[in-house]
């Protein structure tokens, strides 16, 4: 009884009925078509369940015997994360100035934005593979990868912060004839400093997390230890590593959250 004035119906999500049902139909066709072409081989799956069983059986109980390797891997991850954060921030500050619309001229702005977009587009694992090929296995490739990863995040958010600054201070500096560099240092930097410190701490935390992954493709750190354990079917050691990674990430998240709260 939809014509009855006393009954109320929920307004439709998309007003135009043709468009609404058109979108629903298109979505349904897409889902059915892609699902239908999925090559699910149920024999392989039931076979795989046995393999998963074997992995889990091998993984329990986790084996902490080689804790020396574990600690070394983590220290290396930590060093990679620290160096990459410092390097990434050092590069991010000039890039952020380049990519801020209110500070830089058009061509420089587009160059800065372009670099940031490229740095953000590639998953760290892909970047790591390229760097491993270019500079060899080990922590150096990992640090370079995370520098790129840090630029993509820190420079982007910092540029957005610069675009939001109070421009009165810049104008004041310019009106007394200050140079470009001193304007940046005295009028812009103090305004973006809290955000920069916050981003740096957040990025250290997220670099530590990412360094566990890029190690899988040979870029050093705990990820390399994990990949080796997996490759040697040492599933109990691999589980121990994974558990410690999860623990360390939870701790570092808590620590960085605490520091950021104190600073902000």
């Amino acid at each position: 009884m939809s014509t009855d004035r006393t009954s109320w119906r929920k307004p439709a999500f998309i007003k135009n009925p043709t468009l609404r049902y058109g979108i629903y139909a298109a979505l349904a066709i897409y889902v059915v078509a892609t699902l239908a072409t999925l090559p699910i081989d149920w024999d392989r799956v039931s076979d795989g369940m046995r393999r998963a069983q074997r992995i889990f059986n091998g993984a329990f109980p986790p084996n902490f015997e080689r804790s020396g390797l574990l600690i070394d891997g983590f220290l290396e991850s930590l060093k990679i994360a620290i160096l990459a954060t410092v390097g990434g921030i050092a590069l991010s500050v000039p890039l952020a100035f380049m990519a801020a619309r209110n500070i830089s001229i058009k061509p420089i702005y587009f160059l800065g934005r372009g670099i940031i977009i490229v740095a953000r587009s590639f998953h760290p694992v892909i970047v790591a593979i390229i760097f491993v090929k270019a500079v060899g296995f080990g922590p150096f490739a990992g640090a370079l990868t995370l520098v790129v990863y840090s630029i993509g995040f820190v420079a982007k958010l910092l540029a957005e912060r610069i675009e939001e600054i109070d421009f009165g201070q810049v104008e004041a500096m310019r009106s007394v004839g200050a140079g470009f560099l001193s304007t940046l240092v005295y009028a812009v930097m103090p305004q973006i400093m809290p955000r920069l410190v916050g981003l740096g701490i957040y990025q250290l935390d997220s670099n530590l997390r990412a360094s566990a992954v890029v190690g899988i493709v040979g870029a050093g750190g705990i990820g390399a230890t994990l990949a080796n354990a997996f490759g040697r079917y040492d599933y109990d050691f691999a589980l121990a590593i994974t558990m410690v990674i999860v623990g360390v990430i939870l701790v570092s998240e808590a620590v960085s959250g605490f520091i950021r709260k104190r600073i902000a």
Binding site: K10, Y30, V31, T34, L35, L38, P39, I40, D41, R44, V45, G48, M49, R51, A52, I55, L75, E76, L78, K79, I80, I82, L83, V86, I117, V118, R120, S121, F122, H123, V125, I126, I129, I130, K133, A134, V135, G136, G138, P139, F140, A143, L144, R209, A212, V213, I216, V217, G220, F230, T242, I245, V246, I249, L250
Partner: protein, 270 residues
Amino acid sequence: MMDSQPLQQTLDHWSRFTLRQRLMRYGGLMFTLLIVAWALSSIDVIWEWVWDAPTQMGDLFGRMMPPDPSNLPSILEAIWQTVNIATLATMFAVVVSLPVAYISAQNTTPNRVTLWIGRFILVSSRSVNTIIWALLFVAIFGPGIVAGIVAIMFRSIGFLGKLLGEAIEEIDHKPVEALEACGASRFKIVLYAIVPQVMPAFFAISILRWDINLRESTVLGLVGAGGIGMILQGAIDTFNWPEVSMVLLTILALVVFGEVVSSYMRKKIL
């Protein structure tokens, strides 16, 4: 002068920070420098490789130029596969994360036990990386797109459930009370008092995760879980650098496309 400080002192000398603040700042700086020095001096890096890194990278870049489009049809097919992995996995994850979000939000969860079950699902999903999920599911389903979809889905549930649960915790509770007062059933309360309030957040979060998943699914192929990563891995293993750069260009285009689509949808829906 509102300050309790003697007037003479403030006129004589202005400083931005108090002595204590300055000490804290220098202390922080020193601490950072020490940490960096420790990391630099003890890291296991072969410095010869560092010094000739620019040459090596220039060499690699030179080999990548110009990109080789001869394999473009199969690259595009793999890109389409990547989009499908991201989209299907996001859809499934959204469906699964709805009840998880419902039980992990403090104001809607039936009791403490379900709250902790919800929290446990969210934390375990988020703390294992997509690649590690993929390694596991490749062992179960065999190499291919199915393992990729399930891996991305497992990872997304934690993200979607956490953010959605937070959105549910922030709702205005009056509509819920109004419906309760009218004697509405539990299901009707969720449908008419909670769903409309979290709808915008729900779409924003799902679109954001889809965008992230596009990037994540580009690397699944490296562990055999389907998508463009398979072709990338193959090209790198055969030192086919022009094809590598072609794949990288396509990924760049895909990610930019994803960002355009998601910002358009966000504007359209919200």
